[in-house]
């Protein structure tokens, strides 16, 4: 029987190599980049992402192997006694050159970009002090499609053609909406058959936007907005189906929810569907209930907790006394926590004295 890939990797034998003079242990079959990241060595990259297959396209992670060869750390497997230089003046110059090429290819103006402050390209531009293009290489106009899709916005002027979105859709969501088309300097992305995203077979899972290293593909925001560096993030479990996806929810300074991203530690391994990605703003709808309500003459009126609780407790006591505990029933909830459900059934059984407890498991 085959083992799951993670299991084999955990058991994979160690391979000893040096990176920048440091002896590190990588795992057989994995790459220099993975070994470096596991050992806290930050080789820069754009097209690599742990959830997708190796690409080797951005060439930013170029390292020197055994003094003689340039290899991309994201594709080159570790080997025993391998000597890797991950950063020196020559590599830094190459990286800077590539970054400046990428800058000249697009329109990377952070001022207008949703990814400002959460952009991997921006981080690298800072790290390698890449300079703004001088305009001598006129850039090709590329597609901007911010409205056709309810879920996604696309601005290809911010794209570095790393291909993460193509693989996000082809290897995680498996809708294969994105693909490169054209060739060479005219390479660009297409969704579906030269369509706008909104007309393509996209199901708005938003995984491409989560993996996009720049602001080229961004999720539409249903509620709040805010600077990326002001957002606070906390994880929870999706409220919809039973898969139990772990989600990081981001809120802004005002406490409004802004966006949701898949958390890699959950059963979803970072993936989300459209509901997990976009179905959270109901939490902060103004129509939420904010006070206990008691119905009088067919109309609800707001009531204090004490009053509402006393009213219900009194009624329950009376019904239980008059008609017996089996005249009371309760429904627990598949939307509430284990603790809530445990307490509800304990309440019904131990306090009311009946087993009339059920919930919508069958629906």
């Amino acid at each position: 029987m085959s083992k799951s890939p993670d299991a084999t990797l955990v058991q994979a034998p160690g391979v000893t190599l040096t990176i920048d003079g440091r002896t590190v242990v990588g795992r057989k079959g994995r790459t220099i980049l993975e070994a470096a990241l596991e050992n806290g060595i930050k080789i820069p990259y754009l097209c690599y992402h742990p959830r997708i297959s190796r690409t080797g396209a951005c060439r930013i992670c170029l390292v020197k192997v055994n003094d003689t060869m340039f290899k991309t750390a994201c594709t080159e497997p570790v080997a025993e006694n391998m000597k890797v230089v991950s950063e020196d003046a020559e590599l830094a110059a190459i990286r800077k050159d590539i970054l400046e090429m990428l800058l000249s290819e697009g329109d990377h103006n952070c001022l207008y970009c949703d990814a400002n402050g959460a952009c991997e390209l921006q981080d690298l531009v800072k790290r390698y002090d890449a300079q703004m293009p001088t305009g001598e290489f006129p850039r090709r106009k590329r597609e901007i499609d911010e409205a056709s899709s309810k879920g996604l916005k696309r601005n290809e002027d911010r794209c570095v053609l790393c291909g993460r979105c193509v693989k996000a859709c082809g290897e995680i969501q498996i809708s294969n909406v994105w693909q490169f088309t054209g060739r060479g300097s005219k390479t660009h992305l297409t969704s579906g058959l030269f369509e706008k995203i909104g007309d393509s077979p996209c199901v708005n899972c938003g995984t491409c936007s989560q993996l996009c290293p720049t602001g080229a593909i961004m999720p539409q925001l249903p509620l709040g907005n805010g600077f990326n560096w002001e957002l606070q993030k906390e994880s929870s479990i999706c409220i919809y189906c039973g898969v139990g996806c772990k989600i990081d929810f981001h809120k802004n300074k005002e406490g409004m929810l802004v966006k949701a991203t898949g958390n890699g530690d959950g059963p979803n391994e970072g993936h989300l569907c459209v509901k997990g990605r976009f179905g959270f703003d109901f939490m902060q709808k103004p129509t939420r209930l904010i006070s206990p309500l008691i119905k009088e003459n067919g109309e609800f009126r707001e009531a204090a907790w004490e009053e509402a609780l006393d009213f219900v407790a009194g009624k329950l006591k009376k019904i239980k006394a008059d008609s017996g505990p089996d005249s009371v029933g309760a429904l627990a909830s598949a939307k509430c926590s284990n603790e809530d459900n445990y307490l509800m059934q304990k309440f019904v059984r131990a306090v009311v004295g009946t087993n009339n407890i059920d919930h919508c498991a069958r629906l």
Binding site: I237, C241, G242, L331, N341, L363
Partner: protein, 538 residues
């Protein structure tokens, strides 16, 4: 699920029956697609609708609604007849094979094709041979198996097939029900059922009664199983149930035969609803308690693979709303209890003392480890898949099961089969998804899905408003003509109150699980004629 989500790469093949996985459990749907499309794994799909997964299937059976047992029996018929089953496994680990085999005899491919509405009986033979070669094969199902009067039997049939093939108790195999709500597993585990305490300990047992009386410091716990949800509604109409306390549910939209539900709720002396919105159900209440939404509270939930995970508080709750457990505690204390929980973790720690399958878990462990129940001790790593080596009950019980048709067959008056379900962008009664801007924009309105064949025979075009009626009620709804639908079968999602599918559905129940038959009833399709053609309205 007997097995785990992370075992999906271990399966050689997938048997998906009664689950529109890519719309209802999309993340698992994508994982299956990845295996099938990108890695060449095999896929068998059984569903009355030509769902997305059917496009990638090696075998796809578009069966009539409610004929799951027939097709499963048909496949098993061939497997037994051609000696393709895992004999060593069946002999060593199972019982009941002889009776099962005897029952299967009459489910010849021709007979089954006839019941299921399939054109090519040979496909059943080919598929049976095919799946017998897939080791291990995992079986996935959802409400398309359970929501029938024969739901329990359908579940048992899936287990029969997997036992016959030796696919239970192995990594990458299993019978894997996909739970439809984020904590439906936990709600069951916690004893949110009329017949069992937490961890499925029967209420009828005197031992359990004594155990819980001691643990809860309670007297006279009832040993009489309580009423199920549908029975409570019936009880309310009959006057036996006088008070109902509903936490976080919306039965007015979610339960079959809406008229009946409303009548029940309106018969109550006390109807209390605890929710985050004034739902269709809350509107009927005498008292409404505002509670926290999921991002405002902490606590644990248990997913479809029995994995327990921690929810964290992300945002501040609005207004006077309170945590669900706090509200219950307040009521309990007013009724004489002396509960003093200060946080959800206090409750969890009490719960695990009386819940053997959760006994080894703590908040700390759940936060840092991947734990699936059973996890009986603090040292136990949790259980990746069930029935390893031997079945929980000893021998795996194969059950001889006959196909029984849905409660309401089609007839001259109601000639079309109606089935219901969900769409990708909406969820359940829409309390959450329809209040989420993007989801609501993506899927804003109800529709009835109809095959091109039917649309032509009814002279109906895509987008036309038509009338659908059953013996329970009728509604007007827009038609979506699609290749997904099988001729003679229509589908309506049940999220939309403006055309609530459950006005139409039948409240026939499975005799054991009391699950309503949402997936099959008989309906009538009528064109809505313009007023002048009807000869009225002048």
């Amino acid at each position: 699920m007997t097995n785990s989500i992370r075992e999906i790469p271990d399966s050689a093949g997938f048997f998906v029956i009664g689950s529109n996985t890519t719309e209802n459990h999309p993340v698992i749907g994508s994982m299956i697609k990845n295996e099938v499309i990108n890695k060449g794994k095999k896929l068998i799909v059984v569903d009355p609708r030509e769902i997305e997964l059917s496009r990638y299937a090696d075998y796809y059976f578009q069966i009539n609604p409610g004929t799951n047992i027939a097709i499963l029996n048909g496949l098993m018929h061939v497997i037994v007849k051609e000696d393709l089953y895992d004999k060593a496994y069946v002999e060593e680990r199972c019982e009941g094979f002889e009776e099962l085999a005897k029952t299967l005899e009459k489910y010849t491919p021709e007979h089954v094709a006839d019941i299921c509405g399939l054109k090519k009986p040979q496909d059943i033979i080919d598929a049976a041979r095919f799946i017998a070669g897939l080791k291990p094969m995992s079986l996935y199902y959802a409400m398309g198996i359970t929501q029938f009067v024969s739901g329990v039997n359908g579940v048992k049939s899936t287990a029969n097939l997997q036992m016959l093939l030796g696919n239970l108790g192995v990594a990458g195999g299993g019978v894997n029900p996909l739970r439809g709500q984020n904590n439906v597993q936990g709600a069951c585990d916690m004893g949110g059922l009329p017949n069992v305490y937490p961890a499925y300990q029967p209420v009828t047992s005197e031992d359990n009664k004594a155990k819980f009386e001691s643990a809860w410091d309670a007297k006279n716990l009832s040993t009489k199983p309580g009423l199920t949800l549908m029975e409570m509604f019936n009880g309310a109409i009959e006057g036996k149930i006088k008070a109902l306390y509903v936490m976080g549910e919306n039965p007015v939209l979610s339960d079959p035969n809406q008229h009946h539900v409303l009548e029940a709720l309106r018969s109550l002396e006390l109807f209390v609803v605890q929710d985050i919105f004034l739902t269709e159900t809350a509107r009927e209440a005498h008292v409404v308690f505002p509670s926290f939404g999921f991002l405002e509270k902490s606590g644990t939930v248990s997913n479809t693979e029995r994995r327990v995970q921690l929810m964290n508080k992300v945002i501040d709750p609005p207004g006077q709303s309170k945590d669900d457990w706090w509200i219950i505690m307040q009521l309990a204390n007013r009724l004489g209890a002396k509960w003093d929980y200060s946080c959800s973790e206090d409750i969890f720690n009490e719960m695990r003392k009386v819940t053997p399958s959760y006994a080894g878990m703590t908040y700390q462990r759940v936060k840092n480890e991947l734990i699936q129940w059973p996890c009986p001790t603090p040292e136990h790593p949790g259980t990746q898949f069930l029935h390893k080596g031997k079945f929980s009950r000893g021998k795996g019980l194969m059950t001889a099961i006959d196909y029984t048709p849905p409660a309401e067959g089609t007839d001259k008056e109601y000639p079309v089969a109606l089935t219901t379900g969900r769409v990708l962008e909406q969820f359940h009664t829409g309390t959450m998804s329809r209040n989420s801007r993007i989801l609501e924009e993506l899927s804003p309105e109800p529709f009835i899905e109809m095959s091109g064949h039917d649309s032509r025979s009814y002279d109906i075009v895509d987008g036309e408003l038509i009338s659908v009626s059953t013996r329970r009620g009728s509604l007007r709804i827009k038609v979506r003509v699609t290749d997904t639908a099988k001729p003679g079968v229509v589908f309506i999602p049940f999220h939309f109150k403006e055309a609530a599918a459950n006005v139409l559905t039948i409240d026939a129940l499975d005799p054991v699980a009391k699950i309503p038959e949402y997936k099959a009833c008989a309906c009538r399709i009528e064109k809505i004629l313009p007023l002048d053609e009807k000869g009225g309205g002048r």
